[in-house]
């Protein structure tokens, strides 16, 4: 018996030693590795702010011409292009040739929601400041506080993108927006949630814009002494600002008041839009003269901080030493691809050089053979036409000309090339010249036009004094930039002639909006919001023309004033209902 016990204890001792070599609990913990977890993010301000900056990556780097090319302003050179297909009844829930941003918008919204959820503010301070994570940050506290405002702005931005693209009237005649998400995804979340109503989405965007405004400086020119942004220096430009938030809010209210979404014709919605636009105008210096086109679109100014271009409230990222837009739209003779061509429809929308609409008799009579002569000076600013000297060559688009249709592959189908947003100093032959590219996303001209439309719709009177500015006065700013101000103005129709009255004012504003904002991704959406409910397709059924033939280049039609929610999302979430027509 004794020997057994000795042997036993011997083996138990061996077994115990063998087992206790390894401390199990510690063993199963991950070894050191290159992993960066959520906790690591909260220890580094740079890493943490990076999450917000991730959401900036969805801001367009260039103006999107895809949608514009599916309007009466522009056609794609390639008649088989996605945009042309889309404009020929080609948009369906299964396939939207114009592309979908549903998924990417929600991805960015999730990043922003995560950021807002994890931003820890020290509320014991009179002005709440963020809790400092690390001792040696390259992002300072003040900037850090602003990032919360930027987060709200960006969320509003992507929410507006969803509302603009997917908002609409459902088969049940209710007006819907999108499913609102204000918290980042948790795996226990129920994702089969219905769309919020359009008005709920508008309220959410407005709330986010207001939150952004609260946390952000109005612009980066007038910061308080504690600011670490240098006043007016390049360090600040490109970030979201308080002005941007207020302008986005005004834009959202304008959409909400528009007939496609304001199906009950509620005039209060126009009043709300007018009020919001007025607030934004007041905050940005009131009714002031617009910068010249040369200044407004000057690519180099984009880089110089907001103070050098006070008319731009929000823009996309700076791309230096590029020639993307030029490669895409230069005439092939200049080694471009002539991808998008302005239509004759758009040319015809430009007034004559005396300010009269092209189809209203005045002292100036247009030459049908050269319809672009004696026109509104904006035409030459925005469009490359026959005989124009452009980027070192003289354009020849009349039949047989070297830039005309059929002369070389990719030459214009319409007789016109794109000029607005294009930098004519770019060269593709040695010595090559590149430019700087950034998209203008929110600006003063748009705000003026929105204000005029909203006030007129709210009051029915172009001289209404209900608001700080009259619609007429604000529209004058637009016309003055085009035709010149004061007694020397060439505008004998609006500024001097007073030919516009309350019966024609609305169409006048809409036409000015078309011209001023052409090629800036407005027309596609404006045409839709002006539709009278789900079955009005008048504005969306039209033909586009060029100069080479009297027959239409493309006959266009659409299923619905609204765009479809991608079919896959409907299949995945049965509570989502699609817009009328899909």
């Amino acid at each position: 018996m004794k020997s057994i016990r000795i042997i036993l204890s011997k083996y138990i001792a061996i077994a115990t030693i063998a087992l206790s070599v390894i401390s199990c609990a510690d063993f199963m913990e991950p070894s050191k590795d290159s992993y960066v977890g959520s906790a690591d993010l909260l220890k580094s301000r740079d890493y943490f702010v990076g999450v917000l900056y991730r959401a900036y990556l969805g801001i367009p780097t260039r103006v999107n011409l895809t949608y514009e090319a599916a309007t009466d302003n522009l056609v794609a050179n390639n008649e088989n292009s996605a945009t042309s297909k889309a404009a020929k009844y080609g948009i369906s829930a299964q396939s939207n040739p114009l592309g979908d941003t549903w998924s990417t918008d929600y991805t960015y919204i999730n990043y922003i929601n995560w950021y807002i959820e994890h931003m820890v503010l020290d509320n014991t301070k009179t002005v709440p400041t963020p809790v400092i994570f690390d001792s040696n940050p390259s992002v300072n506290l003040r900037t850090f506080y602003y990032t919360l405002g930027e987060a709200y702005f960006l969320r509003a931005w992507y929410e507006f993108d969803l509302l603009q693209k997917y908002g609409g009237v459902g088969a049940d005649d209710k007006v819907y927006g999108f499913p609102i998400r204000t918290s980042s995804y948790k795996e226990t979340d129920n994702l089969n949630i219905p769309r919020n109503t359009y008005e709920e989405c508008v309220a959410q965007i407005a709330k986010d814009c207001d939150s952004a405004y609260m946390h952000l400086p109005l612009d980066y020119n007038n910061l308080d002494a504690n600011s670490t942004f240098d006043n007016g220096s390049t360090a600040s430009s490109g970030h979201a600002s308080g002005i941007a938030a207020k302008t986005l809010k005004a834009k959202t209210y304008l959409y909400a008041a528009s007939p496609a979404f304001n199906t009950a014709s509620n005039i209060e919605l126009w009043k709300r839009a007018a009020q919001a636009a007025q607030t934004a105008i007041q905050l940005t210096g009131g009714s002031v003269a617009l910068q010249t086109y040369a200044n407004y679109f000057n690519k180099m100014n984009l880089n110089n901080g907001d103070n050098s271009n006070k008319d731009i409230f929000f823009r996309g990222p700076i791309n230096s030493a590029v020639s993307t837009m030029e490669k895409e739209n230069y005439p092939p003779r200049l080694q471009g691809n002539g991808t998008y061509n302005p239509t004759l429809n758009l040319i015809n929308a430009f007034p004559k050089s005396d300010g009269y609409p092209a189809d209203v008799a005045s002292t100036i009579t247009l030459d049908p053979a050269n319809p672009h002569l004696n026109r509104d000076p904006r035409l030459d600013n925005f469009i490359v036409r026959n005989g124009e000297s452009f980027a070192g060559i003289t354009i020849a688009t009349t039949s047989g000309g070297s830039d005309a249709s059929g002369f070389a592959i990719n030459n214009t189908r319409t007789g016109y090339y794109l000029q607005k947003l294009i930098d004519p100093s770019v060269r593709f032959t040695s010595p090559t010249v590149t430019t700087t590219m950034a998209s203008i996303l929110l600006g003063r001209p748009e705000l003026y036009l929105s204000f005029a439309e909203a006030v007129f719709m709210a009051t029915g009177d172009m001289n209404s004094t209900t608001y700080t500015y009259t619609p007429k006065e604000i529209m004058r700013r637009i016309r003055e930039r085009a035709f010149g101000s004061g007694p020397s103005t060439k505008d004998k129709y609006y500024i001097i002639g007073n030919k516009v009255d309350n019966t024609t004012f609305l169409n006048f504003v809409k036409n000015e909006r078309r011209l001023e904002l052409c090629f800036e991704d407005h027309r596609f959406w404006d045409l839709r919001r002006w539709c009278n409910g789900k079955s009005d397709l008048t504005l969306l059924t039209y033909s586009v023309y060029g100069i080479y033939s009297t027959s239409a280049l493309e006959n266009r039609s659409f299923r619905s004033p609204y765009l479809p929610i991608p079919n896959g999302e409907i299949l995945k979430a049965s509570n989502l209902i699609n817009n009328a027509g899909y």
């Binding site: 998924s103 795996e187 901080g305 990222p317 700076i318 995945k572």
Partner: protein, 929 residues
């Protein structure tokens, strides 16, 4: 935590055992399990086959020796029922196989001497046995690694007896089984003209294609430099390559100590035609082990196996150059007898430059594997109790050293009247590497410790075996900064009654670091039963049925072979475009993105396995086993991108979850018949496996109109070709009365293009019309072997076939756009279809739209192995103190029967993008002393 649980359980087990033993030690009954003759190796031990409840098959190492190959896997093909092995290419030393067990989903793991190790490192001669464990009960104890099969390799050990020395030498040549065939310049140019004409309404577009003068020059080969016609395969590959294998073995031992020493050397290669750094491999294996009985109760085994491989290849040469360059692309040499080699500005990859002028690459890898194994009998504690601690330690290191030159490439600018070059343009000059540089390198280390307590006792009719395991391992790699750590505590209990009935149950408490902290441990159970019917009274004395046994098992396994860190939130901080946001020219925002969203609920994917088998031996000569298997894996990891709404934030924010389900069902059979007529002995055997997978739950858009649920995992979907367009058909398409293809513009359709079936009849050909058109992995495997012996002469033959295999034909068969033309343009496709209309364009309708025009039955049957040997009569060699002298002739992959003739059906890649598969003929000499 969890670990303390393990410790407690172990302590309880020890304590229970202890007390039981003290009580029991006083009893004098003594009947330790006998029947040692019929024991098979199972995980961490051996088991009496009568008491085995699972499903296993094994092949003895000696059967692999008839197959001359650098890789054991090649020799293993067809030897084990259920184990599908298809070789992907013949690259020397590149152990590249598609291997799967029973069916195309699931997978397998390879254990060598009880620990997860690659079979690549071993020589056939080192192997005592390769056993495959296929059912849940016999696999369960290895831990949380679901797999359809465990390939359990046991290396040789010394045995009691006088010292035995064996030396073997094999030498052979390897010929490609099939080489792809491409058109010569004349045929290529003629057909290219056809393609251009097809694209242009029957007219050769001006300025394109080849003129009659040029075609004549190609046809009559008047000036081969100006109008080259290069036979790439003929010029740059030799007819064959060499193979050598040499091995020495020394083993022996006495009652107390046994030893085994193995040394082997293999090489193959030198297939390229030029250069002094031809592709080749040399391997060296050295293994030694000693088995020592320390005392009556303690036995120690120490084993050390090392493996050194040297591979070399040219600095910059790929077989794919041979299969992609047109015969008339450029002359190999611009001037005869010089190294001024041809090329074009886009194609600066002249294979002569690649083989002879591009320098070298040399890759060395080393594996060291060490095991120490103790076996301690604890009979003094408890009759039948023993304890085996095992410690393993492996190191693998690989490095690639190279000196890669950029070789000069030249282009002829002008020719004289005879077609000789008069002016040469230098496209690139030769730049030789000045120093050797280090390329790819890898390092892996693994240690494992297993502790087994075994209790094995019989009380009258009651037999009880119980094993308690504790297993812990860690795998670290240099590349991944992540360690794979595992722990298991397992219990296996086998009870048998009267040798007729056996019941086995296992429970494995598995731990893996791959899971979230509170999901790291989970118990997986399995049970099985066996009934040896032949021991029942009614069969006991049967002369017909000598043996009959029915086994059934059922169990669960977990899978921890997952991507690391799935449960953790993981982020990445980006400091470079395009993942930065440029606010302005002086301020750029770095961005942080989600790499993976973590999960709180993610847990082990599992597999439920059922295995039934019936085994019999009839008339003392026929062996037969038939099995049925059914695997269901569920909770497979998926991010559910296609089933979760995008409002989740999509792939950035959706965590991995347990979602997918896949089934695998099939049957297996093994049979053999052996007999003897005088001195003539024969064995005929064969095996058969059929397994089909099934998608049960997959991450697929829940579209009521289209679902692939129910398809096999390897099913290929595409359109069904039903004919060719006539002009009337095309008009009908344009008018909308015939289905309009969505994948191309109908106006680009041409007469002669393939028509696809509008399956759902909606007048549009789109993805909803795709049906199952083939499958990418064979579902059926069958093999037959024959062994004849007569007075020292032995003939061994092995045939191997794969069926239920309809893969998509590879690019070799699809000659369009800018591809090099193969002779399938003339010969047609293996499925009997003619090669579609040639086009120099994108070939959207015919070539790029997946359809059954391009799937073919690629079933094949190979004479996989043939060996003839003669052992000299013992009396003749006695004088030389030899115990055996054997001369052998071997052949492998000798011929193939298949509808696919243009390429080897075993791999469409072989010969086109990599080395072809080879037929080996070898002679061998083996001496034992």
């Amino acid at each position: 935590m969890k670990c303390s649980k393990i410790k407690i359980l172990l302590a309880i087990a020890l304590t229970l055992g202890t007390e039981f033993s003290i009580a029991d030690a006083q009893q004098k009954t003594d009947s330790v399990t006998s029947e040692k003759n019929n024991k098979i190796s199972i995980l961490f031990g051996k088991q009496d086959y009568n008491r085995f409840v699972g499903n296993t098959d094994a092949v003895k190492g000696e059967n692999l020796l008839n197959y001359p190959a650098v890789s054991v896997s090649e020799a293993l093909a067809g030897q084990l029922p259920g184990l599908f092995i298809l070789q992907n290419n013949g690259n020397p030393g590149e152990d590249n196989f598609d291997m799967y067990v029973r069916g195309a989903s699931g997978g397998y793991i390879t254990l060598v001497d009880g620990i997860e190790r690659s079979l690549t490192s071993y020589d056939q001669g080192q192997i005592a046995e390769i056993r495959i464990l296929k059912d849940a009960v016999s696999k369960a104890i290895y831990g949380g690694r679901t797999c359809n099969g465990i390939i359990m390799v046991t290396t040789k050990r010394g045995a009691q007896g006088s010292p035995k020395f064996t030396a073997t030498a094999q030498r052979g040549v390897k010929f490609p089984t099939v080489l792809p065939r491409y058109m010569n310049s004349f045929d290529y140019a003629t057909n290219y003209n056809k393609a251009l004409m097809n694209d242009n309404n029957g007219v050769l577009p001006s300025g394109q294609g080849y003129t009659q003068d040029v075609l004549d020059a190609y046809q009559f080969k008047t000036s081969p430099i100006q109008f080259p016609d290069v036979d790439y395969y003929g010029q740059f590959l030799q007819k064959n390559m060499d193979y050598t294998r040499m091995m020495v073995e020394y083993s022996g031992g006495n009652a107390k100590t046994n030893y085994y020493v193995h040394g082997s050397y293999k090489n193959e290669g030198n297939y390229e035609a030029y250069g002094n750094s031809k592709t080749g491999i040399q391997t060296f294996n050295l293994q030694g082990n000693v088995n020592s009985q320390f005392s009556d109760d303690i036995r120690l085994l120490a084993n050390l196996a090392t493996y050194l491989v040297e591979r070399q290849y040219p600095g910059n040469f790929s077989i794919s150059t041979l299969s992609s360059r047109y015969p008339n692309a450029y002359p190999i040499f611009l001037k005869t007898g010089t190294d001024t080699i041809g090329g074009t500005s886009t194609w600066m990859d002249n294979p002569y430059g690649g083989q002879a002028l591009s320098g070298y690459q040399r890759e060395t890898s080393l594996r060291v594997q060490a095991d120490i194994n103790l076996n301690i009998k604890l009979n003094s504690l408890l009759k039948g109790l023993s304890w085996s601690p095992v410690f393993n330690f492996d190191i693998y290191h690989m490095q690639n050293l190279s000196k890669i030159n950029t070789f000069g490439v030249y282009k002829a600018q002008s020719f004289d009247f005879d077609g000789n070059v008069t002016a040469v343009q230098t496209l690139r000059t030769q730049v030789n590497a000045t120093s050797q540089s280090m390329g790819a390198n890898a390092y892996t280390q693994r240690w494992a410790f297993a502790n087994t307590f075994n209790y094995d006792r019989t009380f009258g009719n009651h037999g009880i075996t119980a094993d308690l395991f504790y297993f812990i391992s860690q795998l670290s790699t240099a590349a991944q900064l992540y360690d794979y750590k595992r722990q298991n505590l397992g219990l296996r209990v086998n009870y048998s009654y009267a040798g007729k009935y056996s019941l086995e149950a296992t429970a494995n408490y598995c731990g893996s670091q791959i899971m979230a902290p509170d999901k790291r441990f989970k118990i997986f159970p399995a049970v099985g039963a066996g009934w040896t019917v032949s021991k029942e009274d009614f069969l006991k004395d049967s002369k017909t049925v000598n043996f009959l046994k029915i086994n059934a098992s059922w169990g669960y396994m977990g899978d921890d072979n997952l991507t690391p860190n799935l449960w953790r939130n993981t982020w990445y901080y980006n400091q470079f475009a395009p993942n930065t946001y440029i606010f302005n020219s002086s301020a750029t925002g770095n961005t942080t993105n989600v790499v993976r969203a973590g999960s709180d609920i993610l847990t082990w994917p599992e597999m439920r396995e059922i295995d039934l088998s019936v085994e019999t031996r009839l008339l003392n000569s026929i062996q037969l086993k038939v099995s049925y298997f059914d695997y269901l894996s569920y909770g497979q990891i998926s991010q559910r991108i296609n089933t979760m709404p995008a409002i989740s934030g999509g792939s950035n924010f959706l965590p991995s979850s347990n979602f997918g389900q896949t089934g695998l069902t099939g049957i297996e059979a093994v049979a053999s018949y052996s007999g003897k007529v005088g001195d003539f002995k024969y064995t005929i055997g064969g095996n058969f496996t059929y397994g089909k997978t099934k998608k049960i739950v997959i991450d697929e858009l829940p579209d009521p109109n289209y679902s692939t649920v129910g398809d096999a995992t390897d099913d290929i979907r595409g359109y069904h070709a039903i004919g060719f367009y006539s002009q009337a058909d095309i008009d009908a398409v344009k008018a909308g009365t015939m289905a309009v293809p969505s994948f191309m513009d109908p106006k680009d359709l041409k007469v002669g293009n393939i028509i696809y079936q509008d399956v759902n009849g909606d007048k549009v050909l789109n993805s909803y019309d795709r049906v199952v058109i083939g499958n990418s992995m064979p579902r059926l495997m069958y093999a037959g072997n024959l062994k004849l012996e007569y007075k020292g002469i032995e003939l061994f033959a092995n045939v191997l076939g794969y069926g239920e295999y309809h893969p998509y034909l590879s690019s070799y068969f699809q000659n369009y756009s800018t591809r090099k033309y193969s002779t399938t343009i003339i010969d047609g496709l293996p499925n009997g279809n003619a090669h579609p209309m040639l086009t120099a364009g994108a070939g959207t309708n015919d070539y790029q739209t997946g359809s059954d025009y391009w799937t073919a039955d690629a079933s094949f049957l190979k004479l996989q192995n043939l060996a003839l040997s003669y052992s000299l009569p013992k009396e003749w060699i006695k004088g030389m103190k030899m115990s055996e002298l054997k001369l052998s002739l071997y052949g492998t992959d000798i011929f193939t029967i298949s509808k696919v003739k243009a390429l080897d059906p075993e791999s469409f890649d072989a010969g086109v993008n990599s080395y072809p598969l080879f037929t080996t003929y070898a002679v061998g000499l083996s001496m034992s002393f």
